[in-house]
Symmetry: C2
Subunit: 248 residues, 2 copies
């Protein structure tokens, strides 16, 4: 069981084999059993199997082919709309249209998402999270017809693996774990934490391809650059305002 | 395995029995295998076992006794500090001090957190997430000595259960799952989704205790009230600014 967690690798090539309805339902059930603030279940999972619909989502994920190749795409949304609607129907005045509840709903949504992922992997399926979701959240809102109070935070591509990638390296456990308090890193510790990755063949190859002197600059100058980071931040904050999460 | 997910219940009463180091390390390993944006691992897990330290955290969690009764409290933090420090040491200019990266780091943090929880429950341990974390995040920052670029998003109390609560009810699966697109709810559907819970003995008891006419008003007038929601939103947004996540 813990083995399922330890063996996780993201899958980016999928067979088109559909997921049996009953299995999908069981995974969704596992998702819905995750912890949720006050048992409010402030999230929605949009399960898109229809190919035409997945083709509409494709540009939102920068054309990554797995969106159409895999049989199933799950858009994971923070959702205070359903709960607020219930409150209004009961003459209760909901006040969940603010940042605290965006954050709370986002937490609910991600715990459910990860349960879905663990259940899927336990059944031999593969998954990939799509970080592109927050880049194009406004487009996804339109494509999936999300009402005010509902915003996508991530997406899971789900299906049967058509590749068997190696386990990705991770930083040593002590890089991400602190005991008692945060023990800030010395410069020497930072060097040590990244040493293995920096010396790997994969890194050498990347540096040659990109004509850059080190791995950190692959991140800052190629993968996640300032201009994009700033633009995404602004557009998501704007969306929070428009979609009713900034009334405080 | 999926059974572990389906059987989850939050535990609020714990034995003081410590968690063997090796088991804790394995759970943390499971956490670190969760999906992470660009393999950047933008989170830190602060494992607090020292009782004096947990006593300092206690007021941050409104005095909930499990914080001192359980052997272990894990504060789950979004962390762009470590990665940015690495970039700076390599003459790469990090630009992760903005909202997009708070969100990305929060996603990383929560997927790791839920893996930790699943691994713990698979081993027979119990957990409870503490939503209070975002209410008092500024105090937690001070208590745990979090540097700029690191903010707590949730907390997991971890230990051996000293109670065996019933499985909590959830909304029917179709309440939180939508196929293809978001299918907005009719008023009748909302009524139906909450009907079972509204008619339960537990609800009747709550209404009598609170002198309120329906369950929704327990939420809006007792549990999560507007004044608090607004105050928490403002303080967390302020903290995002202060701790270096709002430079866009």
């Amino acid at each position: 069981m813990i083995n399922t967690l330890l063996k996780h690798r993201s899958i980016r090539k999928f067979k088109s084999t559909p997921i049996p309805e009953e299995e999908l339902r069981e995974m969704l059930e596992a998702a819905s059993r995750a912890s949720t603030c006050g048992n409010m279940q402030l999230y929605s999972l949009i399960v898109t199997r229809d190919k035409a619909m997945r083709e509409k989502l494709l540009p939102c994920h920068f054309g990554q082919q797995m969106v159409v190749e895999a049989p199933c795409v799950v858009t994971v949304c923070a959702d205070v709309h359903r709960f607020s609607m219930w409150c209004e129907q009961r003459d209760a005045e909901p006040a969940y249209d603010n940042f605290a509840w965006f954050l709370t709903a986002t937490i609910d949504a991600l715990l459910a998402a990860q349960n879905l992922v663990v259940a899927a992997e336990a059944r031999g399926l593969g998954i990939c999270y799509l970080g592109t979701t927050i880049y194009t959240a406004g487009e996804i809102v339109k494509t999936l017809n999300l009402p005010k109070g509902v915003l996508p935070v991530t997406t899971i591509v789900l299906g049967y693996p058509d590749e068997k990638p190696e386990l990705t390296d991770r930083l040593p456990q002590d890089a991400v774990v602190h005991f008692e308090q945060y023990n800030d890193y010395t410069a020497a510790e930072i060097d040590e934490l990244w040493a293995e990755r920096e010396e790997s063949e994969l890194t050498k190859q990347l540096l040659a391809e990109n004509g850059l002197p080190n791995l950190a600059r692959i991140f800052t100058e190629r993968r996640y650059v300032k201009e994009d980071n700033v633009a995404i931040s602004r557009s998501y904050l704007e969306l929070l305002k428009e979609r009713g999460f900034m009334n405080q």
